[in-house]
Symmetry: C2
Subunit: 876 residues, 2 copies
Amino acid sequence: MKKYVYMFPEGNGSMRELLGGKGANLAEMTGLGMPVPQGFTITTEACTRYYEDGKTIYPDIQEQIMEYLDKLEKATGKTLGDPAQPLLVSVRSGARASMPGMMDTILNLGMNDEICQAVAALTNNPRFARDSYRRFIQMFSDVVMELPKSSFEQFIDQVKDKKGVKLDNELDADDMSELIVLFKDHYKKSLGSDFPQDPKVQLMESVRAVFRSWDNPRANTYRRMNDIPHSWGTAVNVQSMVFGNMGETSGTGVAFTRNPATGEKKLYGEFLMNAQGEDVVAGIRTPQPISALADTMPEVYQQFVDISSRLEQHYGDMQDMEFTIENAKLYMLQTRNGKRTAQAALKVAVDLVDEGVCTKEQAIMKVEPKQLDALLHPTFVPAALEAAKPITTGLPASPGAACGAVYFTAEEAAAAHKKGEKVVLVRQETSPEDIDGMAVSEGIMTARGGMTSHAAVVARGMGTCCVAGVGGIKVSESAKTLTFADGTVAHEGDFISLDGSTGNVYLGCIETHEAELTGDFGRFMGWADEIRTLHVRTNGDTPRDATQARKFGAEGIGLCRTEHMFFEPERIKAVREMIVSDTVEQRKAALAKILPMQRGDFEGIYRAMGGLPVTIRLLDPPLHEFLPHEDDEIQELAAEMGISFEKLKGKVEDLHEFNPMLGTRGCRLDVLYPEIAEMQTEAIISAALNVSKDGLNIVPEIMIPLVSEINELRYVKKVVKTKADELIEASGQRMKYMIGTMIETPRAAVTADEIATEAEFFSFGTNDLTQMTYGFSRDDVGRILDCYFEKKILESDPFARLDQNGVGKLVKYAVENGRKVRPDIKLGICGEHGGDLSSVEFCHNVGLNYVSCSPFRVPIARLAAAQARVKELGKA
Amino acid sequence: MKKYVYMFPEGNGSMRELLGGKGANLAEMTGLGMPVPQGFTITTEACTRYYEDGKTIYPDIQEQIMEYLDKLEKATGKTLGDPAQPLLVSVRSGARASMPGMMDTILNLGMNDEICQAVAALTNNPRFARDSYRRFIQMFSDVVMELPKSSFEQFIDQVKDKKGVKLDNELDADDMSELIVLFKDHYKKSLGSDFPQDPKVQLMESVRAVFRSWDNPRANTYRRMNDIPHSWGTAVNVQSMVFGNMGETSGTGVAFTRNPATGEKKLYGEFLMNAQGEDVVAGIRTPQPISALADTMPEVYQQFVDISSRLEQHYGDMQDMEFTIENAKLYMLQTRNGKRTAQAALKVAVDLVDEGVCTKEQAIMKVEPKQLDALLHPTFVPAALEAAKPITTGLPASPGAACGAVYFTAEEAAAAHKKGEKVVLVRQETSPEDIDGMAVSEGIMTARGGMTSHAAVVARGMGTCCVAGVGGIKVSESAKTLTFADGTVAHEGDFISLDGSTGNVYLGCIETHEAELTGDFGRFMGWADEIRTLHVRTNGDTPRDATQARKFGAEGIGLCRTEHMFFEPERIKAVREMIVSDTVEQRKAALAKILPMQRGDFEGIYRAMGGLPVTIRLLDPPLHEFLPHEDDEIQELAAEMGISFEKLKGKVEDLHEFNPMLGTRGCRLDVLYPEIAEMQTEAIISAALNVSKDGLNIVPEIMIPLVSEINELRYVKKVVKTKADELIEASGQRMKYMIGTMIETPRAAVTADEIATEAEFFSFGTNDLTQMTYGFSRDDVGRILDCYFEKKILESDPFARLDQNGVGKLVKYAVENGRKVRPDIKLGICGEHGGDLSSVEFCHNVGLNYVSCSPFRVPIARLAAAQARVKELGKA
């Protein structure tokens, strides 16, 4: 029969998958001879069985648990439920990765009326016995029976009031007896049955509760955000109790081997005498700093310092530990790699290498790439944030913190900004016409749209904080109001604060502070760059983007979207002229007006990139995006353009599409209107020729988007090549350039072998590829995602994290077949996934040459690429 | 060096790919010892080279042609351009498949001023010589120089007028001399150079012209409609001339071995004495029936009859022949399998089997599946059609012919129909709400939408004629006018006629006649059914569809779209109540109203299918399709539903999607609202239980649409299974049912191995799969298709003909991986491709169990499936 339970000495630190993090570390510490109370771990596989078996613990597993309980009883010489030698245990969850939101701890299990009396007699400490029992009733009710802990607090207050005292530890043994009666009564009234007196029933119900808590909504959300599969399951640790509440030589505490906020190398933590673990967290009494233990119990303190130091050396990382002192004897209850701030993470990583505790490769693995974000963007001042309560939450679409006055149109936002106001742009959804307003906003909030909606993509590109897809709000542009689900209304000019890293929205202004990059950052990222083999480029449309991204270490531009340049006021006019043209000549005339401006842009970008590769994508969006859609706007524009309302309206109607995402865009535009590709080629090549004269060696990479059929690429390539060769020849200069394509339709992926015969590079447009592979419109998918998460149909948003199982299969297929045909083909990715950790790892493993992401994600991608390489080499 | 030219004796009938149909058959007849003028064939590969080499004939090929000209000269004892022994040749194109629209024939090549004199002297027939020369000038100018033949006609008229005669053959030798002068003069004036006198130049230019004509727009259109790849190329046949215009013992004619209109076994054709081939076609003189040749030249006639009969036996099919009699000697110039009407095709096929000329398998290959359409639908009376000229042309979206009064809304069409009018519904595009109006219309015409637009799909399902996507027209519902590109306006009540098989639209009424199925049809289709292994089901949503399709031989329903039942007036109300529900309870209450109606539908369908399998798809379209979108309609409906305008408007806005095709539809609806799946399951299962009581053994197949992730299927399957099992158990009956899914997103295809663990059957929804694989919205793709055809980016509409290279690869992958996991999985296709010839063949080859198509396509699919099987067995 399969082994579902391990005594601590049977396990070790490498068995994290099976025993969970907590269980593996308890086993490891046991093996290291540290003072760990004895116990056993029920494996994660038992949890998986629980779900497979329809949320029940089958008898075979129950029997094993009882067998190991028996072993524990033999080892401790105590027995669960035996008044002569009562065993009390704690039950704690412990997944592979530390996971807030799950059931955490039940202490003092084994207590009942009889045992309570027995413990009181054995310890000669009735207060302690009864305090332990009432705590157990509370924790069991809360965690196992879902009767909230807080519902018991009224009785404590009642007894304290009667007695006229303020603190719990002012209650005596008799008061505790009274509380036990009140608690049991409350339990029975609320749940309709007596508090269970059988310790084995208590135990099995507690184990069941841990398994169940793996699937609660908070845990699910956390897993989704941290890429933890539901299938992992949690382990359960059953450990004999030691008591910090036995009196004044007992206590309990938590400590870090280094300061988790700053990284400073100094034991950091706090403890409380005569208390159980929950008291430290509850904050009723104020704990003392860990250093004070040196005075209170010098020997115990020294022992703890020694153990801390051994653990840090042993694990090669900063540790976060829990301990209990029972009658002056130290017990270790947990150790794990400590959570830390981004700043601390960098300092610890760098220090550990300097101290010789770990290698650079190991150090690289100690910083979560996502954490770097916090170093690049403004954040809320922690103290200010603590006092604030979010009014609602949306998708954390672009990181950073922002506070500003609400405006409902891009124009009004821009106007307010000019007057010196800090503004937050709030829109139903944004469109390319909002660019100017977005550029001047501190933050952007939209009611609709997902992680790759227009607002999200543009905001990330700009490094501006954005919360998107905020459900339940109503945005009225005409009334200039933002109504929250609870009925609260914010008017134009009212202040709100956005946290783009959590998706939280707050009323009023929360103070923010700017990001600062330390020397540790530079050293650490230097190591990442040494290690990684995957290149990191940026998506950037302007010289400003390019400059920003180079500062963050971008090695080129992977995606320059030419259309973003089309929206500036002086250009949009010519663009619209081009669109309403009736003849090729008219269209060419309009394009000729755009040419010098585009050329200027490209010159700026080439110069900003200083000779690094630049991939420029030909015009991509459907033309109707450049025209207004409401009658009054059409009227106005028609007058401005000197054409009739009917003509312009007719054009708008002609261009209307049922499914624009699957419509006339990308290379389809160039097939219909080759003169667009010609003009853009001229701008790209002549700009490169001009800049090359200054000694920069530019090799423009011209990217033809949305190809789904090799003939599309052939046709447009010919147009581009003809124009480019003609310009280069006329210039008398020598210049190379490349022509490649996006792989962003499933058909392009499955015909990659054909396409590679014409394309010198592939850039995987995984946004569109994800849309078409799933059949999800990224602008509409927000409507179903929450429900899909809740019902466990998806574990993560495929627009944020590359779906390796489906979309990834297409990418892999295209990589393999493209390389077969053209071994030196350059392969990259320029979807939003380029900045996502697991997606970058996928790109590394699948053999891409580079990932491209928005400027602010460049450092994340660099680190993620380094981590992927370290993993690949097995040097983690 | 590669061989690009073959003398006739070097080839044979099996070399069609290389020599083209005409060349292969000339070689074959030569081999059979029939009187064929000598000549050679330039291969299709030479044509392919011509295009590869940038539309030039490279010297290597030119040299080979000259070498073979030399051989021909040796064989005939005549020399091109030699006045002593002048060789004259014809130059004809000849592709693998007979292809109208290409350059056809140049006769008398080799003629020039000098040769004309020589021939006159040699034949002692100056009129013949000069007539031949002037014809050559005309043909060469027309075909090679693109100076229209008709531009020469004025000079003939001029000479005839001067002389006071009416017919060409009343012109004498002097008149011909005059014409030659006038023609050469016209040539020089129009083209700026003298008519080429060098016969070798004439020859090479003519070959070039044949190659060039392969790529003209008419040829391209024909190829696209008939699935002929551009890469095939055409061969060129150069043959020494024989002359039907040598005098009264010379002549020329065409004949079929059987009547091509009826199939009657009787030589059928016509001839003209003292004429060249073009005269027979031109219709200036009236040709005589072939039987008259028995009187004119009995020996030649008998020889021709013998040859005809030999050829038919030899080829095992009705032959279409061209012949020339030169000075009482018969020459065969061409034979090929004759084009015939659908009716004739069936009769010939059946007769040939009865006569023992061919096997059933061979007979099966002699009828083009598409032709069957004409037997199932009304057609225009040929005489009436001849007189008519189309005013415009759209997509031939659903076959048949129709004439009726124009109405612009479904309601008005229905009202007019009630009054007894025959109506044609004309809409910008149709939507599900138009169903009632569509059902009573003779024909449907839309300005927008492609071959798989709503109008096209529904019309094909109903067997109603439809012309869709008619560009250049303006439909005004408010003004009740239809304006054609030329400005002609049709008002409500005006008559128009539609040809759904060609896409032609006519003003006024053209007489139609009904289809009639003969006994031949039954026998022939019986053979097809014996032979084929691929099953044919139908897409049908109503008992009427089911009955119709069974009559046409459907073996089950492959797709029953439940939503089409939702639009009937008494149902749509409950559907809308369901949509605007705020709570699950409200939604369930509304669904409860729909339940009995759906159950009734399914009972009717089960009964109509008499126990054959029925696959029912759960609700598929996005819910906003059931709501109005204009404010006034919303207002009206809100009043009717007793809710506020704001509430309904809000709902409509909430449901709005940017890309509905990629939106909240298919199984996504069931995940959001499992109660919909529950209600539909109840209707499906309880209907089956009810009908089973009458002794029909029903095994409902419940199909869950738009799955892209196994967990979607798992979730909805569980809902369906729970409800189904509960109902079956409660009934006390025994009943099986199946749960399967559509494979219609690329992700479903690439994860088919996972999905097959849960799905008992796959039905490939190749409409959506094509949309997502290409990234083409089928409602919008019309905008680019023409340009894509013109620029040779696509050779066919992937929504009409399955794209085997891309979409097909995904289908194949899913078939293979699905079967690996579940070897007995049932596999079918239910996209529009189920009725397309090459697509059916693909489905057969890839190993599907069935195709499903609209009722009127069922016979086509049956025949196509049989043909695929015959091809596979190599029995063609």
